[in-house]
Symmetry: C2
Subunit: 255 residues, 2 copies
């Protein structure tokens, strides 16, 4: 519950001395590999065949230049055209749809009509907020970050009761994913959408950590195999956490 924006509350676009050299027209994403929302955005750009310059940011270090871009100190942050920051996975997803998705016709990751868009947004929020708060961020904090980061920045021994509580919640989320995958072609309907990529962003983090008993969720497994086999997923399957190798089937397309 600690307020995480620190002392510098000004929000101002970078003044031309951006931390990114301007010799490239590639967009830049500040991300951290095991955050669900960051994976979601990498997958979305991957689906559209657009390369991103990736900068690994450790938000707990509270780097001053990063806080100037995003006083909330959250990830991901996209430096968009003009190096103006676009902040937060759902906000970036909307921006990418408005500037790119609308030109993609049947490859668009968002729907055309308002009710279908609402359903995709509901599921983005389910996986990136609800599942995040019920499960993902607790397991990432306790199992990945605490052992990695200095005590002064929030590191320390994992809290086993937080791990237990998060694990108890995984089952309901996977049952729900299994229900969706069993009744629809993709999670939000007939077409691959942001809903699938947001869900896969979160679930791939938990899968890396070996937290998912796939045999209990056959329809979800079939759906995840399909998402995982897409070329956009390769970069995510190559992510490695120092000192914490993935579960053995993590990068297998057939597991």
């Amino acid at each position: 519950m600690r307020f995480t924006a620190g002392g510098d509350l000004r929000f101002s676009p970078p003044n031309g001395h951006s931390p990114i050299a301007s010799f490239t027209t590639m967009l830049t994403l500040f991300h951290y590999p095991v955050f669900a929302g960051c994976r979601f955005i990498r997958l979305a750009f991957g689906e559209y065949g657009e390369d991103l310059a990736l900068i690994e940011e450790k938000p707990w270090a509270r780097r001053k230049e990063f806080l100037t871009l995003n006083p909330a100190a959250t990830l991901p942050v996209l430096l968009a055209e003009g190096d103006i920051p676009v902040i937060g996975a759902p906000v970036i997803a909307e921006y990418v749809d408005e500037t790119r998705g609308i030109m993609k016709r049947e490859k668009r990751l968002f729907a055309e009509n308002p009710m279908d868009r609402a359903e995709i947004r509901r599921l983005m929020s389910w996986y990136l907020e609800k599942m995040e708060n019920d499960v993902t961020r607790h397991l990432v904090r306790e199992r990945v970050l605490k052992p990695l980061i200095p005590g002064a920045e929030g590191g320390g021994s994992p809290d086993s009761s937080a791990i237990r509580a998060a694990r108890a919640n995984i089952r309901q989320h996977m049952k729900y994913t299994n229900y969706l995958a069993g009744t629809r072609n993709w999670l939000s309907g007939s077409r691959l959408s942001y809903a699938d990529l947001a869900a896969a962003g979160a679930i791939s983090v938990l899968d890396y950590l070996g937290e998912i008993s796939w045999s209990d969720y056959p329809a979800a497994k079939d759906w995840y195999v399909r998402v995982k086999s897409r070329p956009s997923f390769r970069t995510v399957l190559n992510d490695r956490i120092r000192g914490l190798p993935p579960v053995s089937h993590y990068a297998d397309l057939d597991f």
Copy 2:
């Protein structure tokens, strides 16, 4: 961190036996008066001059019909055209913009260009997620809900350390609001937008509870007086919590 969707994970639009009689064409909002996101949506419809049928829902009671509409058991939920549920304040806001806002010209509560839209979305998320998690939901839970609701549904004695932690965070959020209000005409720029209504939704809840020291934030106060004076705000100023009257200046337009 308890998983809140309960056993019934099916998500299906109501089958015609909706809890709402169909003699009206008014849209229906399931809400609870002291939730920031619910206030935000009431304000948005108010700005567009559209009446809503309001149903007060107590999500902690886990009413079965409500869980069928929204397995996440969160508020607000809008029953839109065709009685299909649209779930969550930011998702409802996007839906309202796509079905109504785009016709409102200079009264539209959203911007036209993608970067300005991203800034409005960033601020919606700031007030409805970050401030919610840092401050609002803790004070609402401890000061409003726990005394009201039965022990079996999560009621009980307020946790004074949670109240203290939330109060310590208010200051940074109000400083940030004061900074925005002091450098822009409205919080996201030159025009009233969803950013103002989301912020006012959250801040009005804290103000009801007497948690804001307005004299420390003169620019934020000036901004809040302007928002509060709008006709759309009247219904929010009339909200009363049983057994917990608002701070004396709550409904004063000049305080």
